[in-house]
């Protein structure tokens, strides 16, 4: 088996998550996200003053969203071992992971479109910015399904020596709950549930980071065991 390749995929996922952070923070200056209550002129001024940073940061997001896919596939390899011979939750996890990251790619393109011709009227830039952030934070429900479907096989694992520790399954359920309220962003322009809010953005982002870290650790642990000569 290609255990080393799987381990490399797990590391690529961690590197991609770091790249997402680099794109968002020093390049796009979107960490914290732009305030949805900003005036139209203020939003347009931000795009005009940092057009190149936003476009290059967007490319980082594109690379990051592409780079987490091998991570999910490596995780899927472990999930199939847990639920063998079924593939039900593995397939659910993979398809919902893709569905969860497509909006990130679209958000990146919307930010880049706004920065592509920053001389456009302020209102148009604001529409693209709104659409971008709503795409970026709003579609949290595929993420909920992805996180839950990474929990079920862990908890239902019938192997004598479980592939992942059971607490990882419960931790995955917990992150699924925390990631969910992001879907309400279109209802709010300020406060903790807006797209820059404490609960819809920060709690969800930290929950995703915790999920990545825990599942990377569990995956690496399982792979090192598989590599050990029997």
């Amino acid at each position: 088996m290609n255990y080393r390749a799987q381990l490399a995929c797990a590391w690529i996922g961690i590197a991609s998550t770091a790249l997402m952070f680099v794109g968002m923070w020093p390049l796009m200056h979107f960490l914290p996200p732009l305030d949805p209550a900003l005036s139209t002129a203020a939003v347009a001024a931000i795009y005009r003053s940092n057009a190149t940073g936003i476009i290059v940061g967007g490319l980082c997001l594109l690379a990051a969203a592409s780079g987490v896919m091998p991570f999910y596939c490596a995780l899927a390899m472990q999930l199939t071992r847990m639920e063998h011979p079924s593939r039900l939750w593995t397939y659910t996890m993979l398809t919902s992971a893709v569905l969860g990251f497509v909006p990130l790619v679209i958000a990146e393109m919307l930010f880049s479109t706004a920065a592509y011709r920053p001389e456009r009227p302020d209102e148009i830039i604001q529409v693209l910015n709104d659409f971008g952030f709503i795409m970026f934070v709003g579609p949290s429900l595929p993420g909920t399904v992805q996180l839950l479907s990474s929990a079920i096989p862990v908890l239902a694992d019938r192997n004598a020596d479980p592939i992942f520790p059971r607490w990882v399954g419960y931790a995955n359920v917990w992150t699924a709950i925390l990631a969910t309220p992001g879907c309400m962003v279109t209802l709010f322009k300020r406060g903790p549930f807006a797209w820059n809010g404490a609960i819809s953005f920060w709690v969800a982002a930290i929950a995703f980071g915790i999920w990545m870290g825990i599942n990377f650790w569990a995956m690496r642990r399982a792979l090192l065991r598989q590599m050990r000569p029997a």
């Binding site: 520790p165 059971r166 607490w167 990882v168 399954g169 419960y170 931790a171 359920v173 917990w174 709950i177 925390l178 969910t180 309220p181 309400m184 209802l187 709010f188 406060g191 903790p192 549930f193 404490a198 609960i199 709690v203």
Partner: protein, 194 residues
């Protein structure tokens, strides 16, 4: 004379299994953070929050609290019955617990319905945003918890509930008590805090 072997010290018993507490304590931690966010926003605008809070129906809040506390009592007794090997009695008690949970949902529907009919909705002001969102997130927990109780009921009705039966009952029961506990704090913070 035979040397008497001292009985082994009773190892600390963790209800359910250790892992389920990652979820339960994690959820309690998350709600604590939510309440901290609420209190920070409240501190910036105490007058608005107090005026808005006065419009909440304490009667509904009290009824909700009574329903959940009663359901928790039924669940606790169901766990005791399961430990004693009386799975049928557990099943009966779980039905009562589920009925209380259903009552909570109906009462919440009436409470929200009356608020919406009087023109108070999600974006009326900051207080009501918190009110609808937090009670809504809690309601999702009630629904998940009722799903857990339904699973426990199905397990209790099996001819052979299995070796893990008592641990499953304890873990599921602990989750329901957490849903109850969060409501009690939510009730205090939203309906009673002055």
């Amino acid at each position: 004379m035979q040397p008497t072997v001292p009985p082994p010290a009773r190892a600390g018993h963790v209800p359910g299994e250790a892992g389920v507490w990652v979820l339960i304590l994690g959820d309690i931690f998350a709600f604590s953070a939510f309440f901290a966010v609420f209190l920070l926003h409240r501190a910036q605008n105490v007058a608005l929050f107090s005026v808005s809070q006065a419009t909440l129906e304490r009667g509904f809040g009290l009824l909700n609290t009574a329903l959940l506390l009663t359901s928790s009592l039924f669940v606790a007794r169901a766990v005791l019955a399961a430990r004693a090997g009386a799975a049928r009695a557990s099943a009966r008690l779980l039905i009562f617990a589920l009925a209380c949970g259903g009552g909570f949902i109906v009462s919440k529907a009436f409470e929200w319905g009356a608020k919406i009919a009087s023109g108070i909705t999600l974006n009326t002001n900051e207080f009501y945003s918190f009110y609808y969102m937090f009670t809504g997130i809690h309601l999702v927990h009630v629904l998940v918890g009722m799903g857990v109780l339904t699973y426990l009921l199905a397990r209790s009705r099996r001819s052979d509930p299995g070796v893990s039966y008592v641990a499953v009952m304890e873990g599921g029961g602990a989750f329901w008590h957490m849903v109850d506990l969060i409501w009690v704090v939510l009730f205090a913070v939203f309906y009673l805090l002055r």
